[in-house]
Subunit: 220 residues, 2 copies
DNA sequence: TAGATTGTTAATCGATTAACAATC
DNA sequence: TAGATTGTTAATCGATTAACAATC
């Protein structure tokens, strides 16, 4: 399974940089909504609490969006970052696991606004199959393969119990899924062709717990 | 507002290290459940896909848990990391915002197992106040202050719309909250005394989108 | 004891910050 | 033009990895 991790793009951009793009995008969206036309890296730095240097460095990975002596045009930069993040495209999305979390994500309309189109939701519990969420019925897992073939699905959201996750991920992989947004509390081992983004809620809560515990035990 | 970010602990441990602890904890839990008694950094390295060097380096921030020639005792290390993460303590937790996500988190029993005790849930929508979730009624926001005073709340989970988040965070701060697990799509600006852990779902989805988009456009 | 594997120091690598020449 | 601010190179900082002496 020796597979070059790099050489995928002309110049591979670090995940540290990519991880900051949505935050830039968010702040620029706010500035745009406030009707602000231009912003300098220093102004953005003051608002966002990162160095102006990092902002300029990050943006220059993708090209020169600014202009010397002027700064950056808010609307233009906002749109460029959106494009870089792939938000100019639409992605079809299904949810696997119609438990509380799956239902909550299905109901969250903001994803749709960004081009993530909710197409279907699946569960292996017959008791909830047929139940409608935003006018889409929960389907049994048996229909997954046919549905994926007929609906050009890009992203699967995995909100199933931990023990089922690996097997279902394999099944999704064999159906040709391109990306998995994984909420199950395991690290999926899949081909590098398939993009995986983990949201490990319990890990996040534990980090909070550490900071809380270590912060209160000082002045020892 | 000049405030020393460091000097909180004897030796401040980087968030990079802390962020890896829950993952170590998870893998050790699995080994423990499999009845495995000892593990070397090299074995753990093979399973977890991180370098053995990093594992040893990380663990040694907190003390020597291993033994030369033997490795680490799985159960002991599991418990030590649990203690470091603060999982030996119990934390009282409330949820602000009883929408889909708030309800989903309230119903997720696994947090309870780790010592995060669900004590109450609040919403400013009168229509859903009184509704019961795991036998706990949704309370109106007006009762927040009294409830927090009477129930020794440590953590607030913020699952409210973006526009309400900052004001509610201020209110929580004035009631003496110690930590906020923030699902609202804003960066809260609070005193450094209050621990904040963000779960920005849309940012996470955008990262996935970037990787998906940039991965499919190669071979240009 | 010899072998294994840690704890820890030193070397490397990558990411962040500073500085400044280019240029609008 | 002079002033402002970028794009980009160089310096610094921190995090990761390698190496190995300590030791079980």
């Amino acid at each position: 399974m020796l597979q070059e991790a790099s050489a995928v793009e002309e110049r591979e951009i670090s995940q540290a940089v990519i991880g900051r793009l949505p935050r830039y995008f968010r702040y620029l969206g706010v500035l745009k909504d406030e009707g602000i036309e231009r912003v300098s890296s220093q102004e953005l730095s003051d608002i966002m609490q990162v160095t102006a240097s990092q902002i300029r460095q990050d943006l220059n990975h993708f090209g020169g969006f600014g202009q010397q002596g002027y700064g950056y045009n808010v609307e233009h930069l906002y749109e460029e970052i959106g494009r870089i993040l792939g938000l100019d495209k639409e992605y079809n999305l299904i949810i696997i696991g119609a438990g509380h979390l799956g239902q909550a994500l299905a109901n969250y309309m903001n994803f749709e606004r960004r081009g993530f189109i909710f197409k279907g939701i699946f569960d292996n519990n017959p008791a909830i199959c047929g139940m409608k969420i935003r006018n889409i019925a929960v389907r049994p897992m048996e229909e997954l393969e046919t549905f994926m073939r007929e609906n050009d699905i890009d992203i699967a959201v995995l909100t199933v119990p931990r023990d089922n996750a690996a097997a279902i991920a394999e099944q999704l992989a064999s159906c040709g899924i391109k990306a998995i947004w994984n909420f199950a509390h395991v690290d999926l081992q899949l081909s590098k062709e398939i993009q995986v983004e983990n949201v490990h809620l319990l890990d996040s809560l534990m980090k909070l717990s550490y900071n809380l515990a270590s912060h209160s035990e000082d002045r020892s």
